[in-house]
Every structure is written in C-alpha cells, then in structure tokens.
Amino acid sequence: MDLKVNDYTTDDGLTVINVEGEIDVYTAPKLREKLIDLVNKGKFHLLVDMEKVEFLDSTGLGVLVGGLKRVRAHDGSLELVCTQERILKIFRITGLTKVFGIHDSIEEAQEKRKGAK
C-alpha cells in the first residue's frame, strides 16, 4: 500500500490535504515533502484529512509535528480531521491530542475556523 497525498485550497484559504494509505517510515517522506512544498508556496493554513489513513506510526506523527512547527513560524495552523479510533489512539498515547486541533469532518473544521475569525 503506497501513500496517496492530494490537496486543494478552499475559497477561504484553507488547504485541505487528503492522505490515503499507510504513513510509516517508508512513505512519510512523501507527506513531509508535500507539507514543505505547501509552506514554500505560502499555504500556512493546513487541514490534513486522515480519514483514509490505514496505518500511522511515529514517523508519521513526526512529520505532522514538523509541519505544525513550520506553519506556526508563519502564524499558520495545521489541524487534522480524524474519527478513526485506532488512529486517534496513537495521538492520545503520545499526548499529541493536546498539540493538534482534531476535527470530526472538514466541514466542522471550516465552521470552527469561521467562528474563530
């Protein structure tokens, strides 16, 4: 299972990154490059959709944390969409639920963003 990474930017400037497959030591570089690439292009508000992620390990977590640090350097944000219990568990045991905003859907993330503006 390889990793598929796609992205699009909504009208209100949120860049949604769809990730599909296994994020591990083998595939994480692909996601890392995508995040770096987006930041280089001036996209600082990122929402990573994890609903189709089948496997996530600490290499994947590390890439997400690295992305978060990058966008924060530009006053940006990196939040997640994730409802899968087995994936959430990994954020929970590493304490990263406190570091990432985690939403139930892209819509919910967008609503909250509007509310916060």
Binding site: D24, Y26, T59, V65, K69, I90, I93, T94, G95
Partner: protein, 156 residues
C-alpha cells in the same frame, strides 16, 4: 509455536515486511484480533527505530526480530547493532531504565519543550507509542546494541 527469527537489511521497506510477519505470527500464536493492531504498531515502531539507527551508524548490518510464544505470552524482541553510547538515535532512551516507566497514558509536551523541538524527535514519539501499546516492555542498552523486548498475553 516456537521461534521465528528474522534479520533484514536496514531499509524502510522491510519495516513493512516485519509488520506483516509479526502480525501473522502473533495471530497464529493466538494473540486476539483486538491486540494484533497494537502488536503490529509497537513492533513496527521498534523496527523503524532500529532501521533508522542502523542507517546512521551501520547501514550494512541487518536488524534482528525474534518472535516467540509459549502458550501464555507472545514476545517480540527487536535488536539493533548500534552500541547505546554511540548512537544519537538512542539518546532518547538513555538512561534505559527510564523508559518502561514512561507514563503510558499521556506524556506531557509543554508548549516550551514543544517549541524546542522535543516532540519532533521521532525516536521519542516511537518509544512513547511502544510504551503505550505493549503490555510489557523492557529496553536494554548493551555494548552490542539496543534490545527492545515487548510482550502481550495470548488468548482471551
């Protein structure tokens, strides 16, 4: 079900092979389906860690994975050949005794530590995952390398 031993060259792709193997052997050994996910993830983490350590220090040496089951417990041991005091990647697990006592629930990353890049250290995240998922973990740092020994109960 006795022992399966695997050595694989230190390549990321083989971490996937290792996950596949550990899952199959654990299933055959009678580890329940609900635990298999944790076994796969924890052993995968240990293998990733070892592969990364080898890539930095001894890319030509293979990483070892040993699987045993005795009817009551399923045990996986991942061994690297990077001596503990010689490996940047193992700094996070030195001193070794500290790790099994990692708060399995929720390690705290203060915004500060986070800002300093602490949480960015994949090795540390990996150990938090292992500590959070393995029913029992032991990490041994020897002059030969680091051994991570994890085990889970067998049966319901």
């Amino acid at each position: 079900m006795a022992t399966v031993e695997v050595s694989f060259s230190a390549l990321p792709v083989h971490v996937r092979t290792a996950r596949l193997i550990v899952t199959a052997v654990a299933r055959r050994s009678g580890v329940t389906e609900t635990l298999l996910d944790e076994v796969r993830l924890a052993v995968g983490e240990a293998c990733s860690r070892a592969v990364e350590a080898h890539r930095r220090h001894c890319p030509d040496e293979p990483v070892r994975l040993e699987l045993t089951a005795d009817g009551r417990r399923f045990e996986a041991v991942v061994s690297d050949s990077v001596p503990g005091d010689d490996a940047a990647g193992t700094a996070a697990i030195d001193p070794a005794p500290a790790v099994p006592s990692l708060p399995a629930g929720e390690p705290q990353y203060s915004e500060d530590a986070f800002g300093l890049g602490l949480a960015d250290d994949t090795a540390e995240l990996g150990l938090a995952v292992i500590a959070g998922l393995a029913d029992d973990v032991e990490i041994e740092t020897t002059p030969k390398g680091v051994q991570i020994r994890m085990s889970w109960p067998i049966g319901a």
